[in-house]
Symmetry: C2
Subunit: 630 residues, 2 copies
C-alpha cells in the first residue's frame, strides 16, 4: 500500500473514443438511460414492472397505493441517477437534467422528517425502521442513494440531493451509535463504501468513522445479524426460514481474520471495496492484508475465467463489484495485477450482462447454456437463455448502466503530476501536470490488435510521468517515442515514462494472438476441457455458428487457431476458428439413451465468438469450456 493513492479521473476530463467500448458506451445516453427511465415508470411493454417511481409517489403521499416490488426497489432509481450524473459529465443535456431534478425532488418528498428514507418501510412498516438489518436492505439502499447524490453533486454542483442524503447519513450515524445498535451492521454491505465517498466530498469525518465502525463490527460477537431475529421488535421481511448463516453476509469472522471470500458475492465485494478504502484512509496494514488475501482467494479459487464470481450464478452485479474492488486496490498499490482482473470482469461478464442494443439484460452469466434445460427446469429459473427486458429484482440493469457511464474512471487514474493508463482504449484524456494542461489522445485497436498510439499535446513545462499498463497477455511488447524504440522501466505492470510533455507520439505494439487455455482438472466440471482466449477476451461457442449440441464437439488443440476480423460480425469482431471433431448426429437423433457401439466422430470446423457478445443473434446453446480430443 502506497502513502498516496491514485485518483479516478473526473469524467468531464475524459471522452471515450473506442471502437470496441463504444459498441456499449455510446448507447448509455441515447438508449440505456431513456429505456431505464421508462422501465422505472413501468412503461416497457412485456417487461416485469419495476414499481420504483410509484413507490416513491406513494411514500411521498402523492398517490394512493401500497409498496410493490423487492424491498430494495428504491436503488433502481439511485443507480439510474448515478448513471445520469456520469452521462451529464460527458455532455450537458438539459432535458435529462430536468428529469433527474424532478426525481430528486420526489425523493426529497418521500424522505421522513428525521431524515429516514426507504419507501418500503415508510409505506409498509412505518415506525419499524432498522428492525431487520439482515434482509431489510435499508442501509444498502441508503448507500446507493448516497453514491448517486455524491456523483450528481460533483457533476452538476447542485446540492439538493446531497443534502437529502446527508440528512439520511446523519440519522444513520446517530442511530447506529446508540446502545441498541452498538453492534449492528448491515446485512447487505454498500453503505460503507458510500459513506467513504460522502466523507471525501464533504470532509465530514463522522461518515468515515461510521463506515469504519460498520466494517470493524462485522463478524464480532455478539453477532448482531444472528441475534436480531429473536428480538421482539424484529420484522420479518422475506419469510425468514430461520437458517441464517453468518458467512452469507461475511459476518462469520471479524474482517481482519477472513481469509476466504464467502457468501453472497455482491455483498462480499462491496464490503471489500470499503475495506480497501478504509485501509488506505487509516493506513491500516492489517486491514490491507485482509483485502489482499481475499483478492487472492477470489482469483485463485472463486473466479470463473470470465471474471464472473459467485458459485452457480456469476451475477452481473458481482462482477461490477469485483471491478470496483480491483480498481480501489490498484489505486492504493499502483499494481496493475488488479487491473488485469478488473478488465477481465468488465470485458467479459459485465458486458455480457447487456445486449448490444442496450435494452435487455442478463442477471446470471453462466459459462454454458442449453436453453431447453433452463426453460424446463424451475430450479434454474434465474438462468435465462436470452436477455430479459427487465427483472422484478432489477439490481443488474441500472448497475451496468452506471458502470458503462463511468467507464472513464476505469480507463485511467491521475496521480501527482502523473497519468496512469489502465485500459488500452481509445480516449481523449485531459489532465494537469505541474499545473500545465496536457491532453493525451489515445487510439487503440484493442482487443483485436495490440496497437496503441498516444499523441500528446501539452502546455510548456509539463514534466511528469505517463504510466502505461503493460498487460500480462501482451507478447513481445515494443514501445516507441516519436518513432524511436525505447525500453521503459516497468513497475508492477506499468511502463513508466518520465518526460517533459510537449507533442510526443508514443506507441505500444504487441502480439495478442488467440490461444487455448486448459482447465485445472481438479475443477471437476472442466476436466479435459479447453477455452479460447484472446488478450482480455474470453471466447465461446454459439449454436448460431456451430449448430446444436455443443457438448458433442471435441477440439483438436494441436491444430491451432485461426483469426479473422469481420466487420459484419457483431458490430465488428475477430472470429476465431479451430479444428475439431464432432459426434455424427444422424445416428442418434430420436434414438435411445445409450447403445453398445461407440460414438462416431467427423471432422469439423469450430467457430468461436467473444463471450461478451454472446446471445445477440438467436436463442441457442453457448459454451465457454469445450471438450478436447484426448
Amino acid at each position: 500500500m502506497e502513502k498516496k493513492k491514485l485518483h479516478t479521473i473526473e469524467l468531464n476530463n475524459i471522452r471515450v473514443k473506442d471502437e470496441f467500448w463504444n459498441k456499449y458506451v455510446s448507447l448509455v445516453t441515447k438508449e440505456i438511460i431513456p429505456y431505464q427511465w421508462k422501465a422505472l415508470h413501468d412503461q416497457v411493454e412485456d417487461a416485469e414492472p419495476s414499481h420504483c417511481i410509484t413507490n416513491f409517489e406513494v411514500a411521498a403521499g402523492l398517490k394512493e397505493g401500497t409498496f410493490e416490488g423487492f424491498v430494495f426497489q428504491d436503488t433502481d432509481l439511485a443507480k439510474w441517477l448515478e448513471a445520469v450524473a456520469y452521462s451529464l459529465s460527458y455532455e450537458k443535456n438539459e432535458e435529462l437534467e430536468k428529469m433527474a431534478d424532478g426525481a430528486i425532488e420526489l425523493i426529497g418528498r418521500a424522505q421522513e422528517e428525521n431524515g429516514y428514507l426507504d419507501t418500503y418501510f415508510t409505506i409498509l412498516e412505518p415506525g419499524k425502521q432498522f428492525c431487520n438489518l439482515k434482509e431489510g436492505h435499508e442501509l444498502y439502499t441508503a448507500g446507493h442513494m448516497i453514491e448517486a447524490a455524491v456523483a450528481y453533486y460533483k457533476v452538476t454542483g447542485k446540492d439538493a440531493y446531497l443534502n437529502i442524503m446527508r440528512k439520511t447519513a446523519d440519522l444513520i450515524c446517530e442511530v447506529f451509535h446508540t446502545e441498541k445498535y452498538k453492534n449492528a451492521v448491515p446485512g447487505h454491505e454498500e453503505i460503507e463504501l458510500a459513506l467513504v465517498k460522502l466523507y471525501e466530498v464533504t470532509g465530514e469525518e463522522k461518515y468515515l468513522n461510521m463506515a469504519k465502525d460498520f466494517v470493524e463490527r462485522r463478524g464480532t460477537e455478539p453477532n448482531y445479524l444472528v441475534e436480531e431475529s429473536s428480538q421482539e421488535w424484529y420484522v420479518d421481511v422475506w419469510h425468514d426460514p430461520g437458517m441464517y448463516q453468518p458467512a452469507y453476509g461475511q459476518a462469520h469472522l471479524p474482517v481482519r481474520e477472513q481469509t476466504t471470500a464467502e457468501g453472497h458475492a455482491v455483498r462480499a465485494v462491496y464490503l471489500y471495496c470499503a475495506m480497501a478504502d478504509l485501509a488506505f484512509a487509516y493506513q491500516d496494514k492489517s486491514l490491507f492484508d485482509a483485502c489482499e488475501r481475499l483478492y487472492q482467494n477470489i482469483v485463485e479459487k472463486r473466479m470463473y475465467i470470465t471474471g464472473g464470481i459467485g458459485s452457480n450464478y456469476a451475477e452481473s452485479c458481482a462482477s461490477i463489484g469485483l471491478a470496483l474492488f480491483c480498481r480501489r486496490m490498484a489505486q492504493i498499490t499502483r499494481d496493475a495485477k488488479y487491473i488485469e482482473t478488473m478488465e477481465r470482469a468488465l470485458m467479459n461478464t459485465v458486458l455480457a450482462g447487456i445486449a448490444m442494443d442496450g435494452k435487455s439484460f442478463f442477471y446470471v452469466n453462466p459459462l454454458e447454456v442449453w436453453p431447453d434445460a433452463c426453460m424446463e427446469k424451475t430450479s434454474m429459473e434465474h438462468v435465462k437463455p436470452v436477455r430479459q427486458k427487465w427483472f422484478g429484482c432489477a439490481c443488474c440493469p441500472p448497475n451496468i448502466a452506471r458502470t458503462l457511464a463511468s467507464l472513464g474512471e476505469y480507463i485511467c487514474f491521475t496521480g501527482e503530476d502523473s497519468l496512469w493508463i489502465n485500459l488500452l482504449a481509445g480516449a481523449d484524456i485531459q489532465t494537469s501536470i505541474r499545473g500545465k494542461n496536457v491532453t493525451f489522445h489515445m487510439e487503440s485497436k484493442m482487443p483485436w490488435e495490440g496497437a496503441v498510439k498516444i499523441r500528446v499535446s501539452a502546455e510548456e513545462g509539463a514534466e511528469g510521468n505517463l504510466c502505461i499498463r503493460l498487460p500480462e497477455y501482451a507478447v513481445n511488447p515494443v514501445f516507441t517515442i516519436d518513432g524511436k524504440n525505447v525500453v521503459p522501466r516497468v513497475e508492477k505492470g506499468y511502463a513508466l515514462f518520465h518526460e517533459t510533455w510537449q507533442n510526443q507520439v508514443i506507441t505500444l505494439t504487441f502480439a495478442i494472438k488467440a490461444h487455448f487455455v486448459y482447465a485445472n482438472p481438479n475443477v471437476r466440471a472442466d476436466a479435459g476441457k479447453a477455452a479460447v482466449v484472446k488478450g482480455p477476451l474470453v471466447y465461446c461457442l454459439e449454436e448460431a455458428d456451430n449448430g446444436k449440441n455443443l457438448s458433442g464437439i471435441f477440439l483438436d488443440t494441436a491444430a491451432g487457431l485461426k483469426e479473422n476480423y469481420r466487420k459484419d460480425l457483431l458490430k465488428g469482431a475477430a472470429e476465431i476458428t479451430a479444428r475439431g471433431k464432432r459426434v455424427v448426429k444422424k445416428d442418434w437423433d430420436g434414438e435411445s439413451l445409450y447403445r453398445l457401439t461407440p460414438v462416431e466422430l467427423e471432422e469439423t470446423e469450430v467457430k468461436f465468438v467473444p463471450y461478451c457478445h454472446w446471445g445477440n443473434r438467436k436463442t441457442g446453446e453457448m459454451a465457454v469450456w469445450v471438450k478436447t480430443l484426448m
Copy 2:
C-alpha cells in the same frame, strides 16, 4: 393386455436362497426391521428423529404433546408394518408379531370415531380434514395404511388392522362422492392402488370404483388441485407459495391423454400402478394404452441407466414405484420387457438406497458424487455422499424394507397351471399345477455368471407351463432338460416349457460379459462418456479403488474389459478392470485454475464395482458415466 393376469406368488410359497440378493434380504428380519422399529421410536443415536410413534400416542390421547415431523409421517409406521407382514410370511416370529399387534392397537386408538385416520390433522387441525388435498397427504397416508393392513391380514389372518382401514376407506368412499368433493383427487397418488388391493382382498366393489373415480377425475376441469387453495376452508400445510403446477401432480391432462411422464416421480409411478390395475380390472384398452405410452416415455426419455427416475434426484422411492408399475404391466401383458426395467431399477437404484449393513440409506441416488460439492453447497443438501441413519422425511428407508421383504413377489408370478420366473435368482418355489404340488429349486450364479439350474419335484399329474425369462442381455443362451439341449419357444421374453412335471432338471446358461455402453450425445451431461454394464448391473468408479478426481479419467474403450470375481470384495462381487489414461496430478495440485499448456495424461488401470454396492467402504467420489479417449 391379456384377459387373465398373472399373480404375484404368496410369499410363504417362496424362499429366497440367493447369494447376491441375500446380501440384503437376509438383513430384513434380523437387522432392518428391528433397526427401523427403533427409528420410529426415536431411539437411533445421532439420527434425525422420526416422531412417528409419538404422534400416534398423542393423537390417541395417551401422551401430552403435539405433532412433529412431516405431514405424512404416519406412513413410516405403515410401511414398517407392511415389511413385518412380509417378513412373518417367511418365518413366524411371535415377538415381532406382538410388536406389530401393539402398533396396530395404537393405530386403532388414534383413529377418529368416523373412521378418519391421520395424526397430523387429528392433532394440529381437528375439524379441518381433507382441506388440503394438494399437499396434506391424508389420502396418500391412508393408502399406505391400507396396503399394510391388507398385507398383514393376508399373512396373519388377523383382521383388526384391516377393519380399521376398511372404516377409513368407507369414510373416504363416502366423503369423496359428496357434492363438495366430486372432482377431488389426492395431490400425492397412492390411495388408488391401495383401494384396488383392498377390493381384491374384500371383494367390495365400491373400493375399486373409488380408485377408478380418483384416476378418471385427475386432470379434468375444473381442476380441483388448482382451485382448492382459493377456497375459504383451505388449510395451508407447507406455506404454499401459490405456484402449484398441475403437472407436478400429474393433473395437467386427463390421464388417458397423457403421453409423457411429468412431475413428481413417486406420485407419477404410483398413479401409473393404479392405472395398470384399473386397465386390467375394467379391460380398458385406452387406459392400458396410456400406461404403455407413459412406460415408453419413461424408459426412452426419463430414466437413468441405473433405473433411477426423477430429474436431479433419482429418489429411491421413485425406483420402487417404477418396479411396482413394471411388475403390474408384466402381470397383465406377460411381456418380459417390463421385467427388464423392473430388474434394472431394483438391482441398481433400490439396492444402492440401502447400506450393506441395513442401517443407513440414500434418499437421492445420483450417478456422480464429489463429496466436497454436496457437503459445501446448501442447494444440494438432499444429495448426500454417505448414507444417512434416518431422514426427517423418511419415506425411503421403510419403503426399501417392504420391497426387500417382498422380493419373492418380484421373482416369480403364478398363472393358470403355470409358473413364470422373472428374476433368475436362487429360490425354492412352491406352487400348484393342476392341483398338484410342484417345487422348483432354482440355483443361480447371477449376476456374476449366466448359470441357472432348476430342479423340479412334483406330485404326479402336474402338467403345465414353466416360463423362464430370457433376459435381453443373455448372449448365446442354451437350455437343457435333463442334460439334453433344447430350444424352447420364446414369447415376449419368456422361454416356455410345457411338461408333465416330475423331477426334471432344467438349466439355462448364457454369456453375461461386462461391456461398455455409450451415451447418446444429445444427453448433454454424458456426451462422449461411457458406462460399464454387466447383465442387469450397472458399474461405477469409486475413489476407494481409483483415487481422487474421477473426472480426470479417460477410458480406452478399445482395450476392452477384464472381470475378476473376488470373494473379499463387497461380500463377493465381480470387479471389472479397464485401461485408460488419467491426468497427471502432480502438475496441478494447488496450482492456478487454468494454464497455457495442455493437460498431460498417464496410463492407468481403472477399476469398476457394482453401483448397487457403492459407498460401502469409505466416503469418496463415485461416477457411473466416465469420459473416453477420443
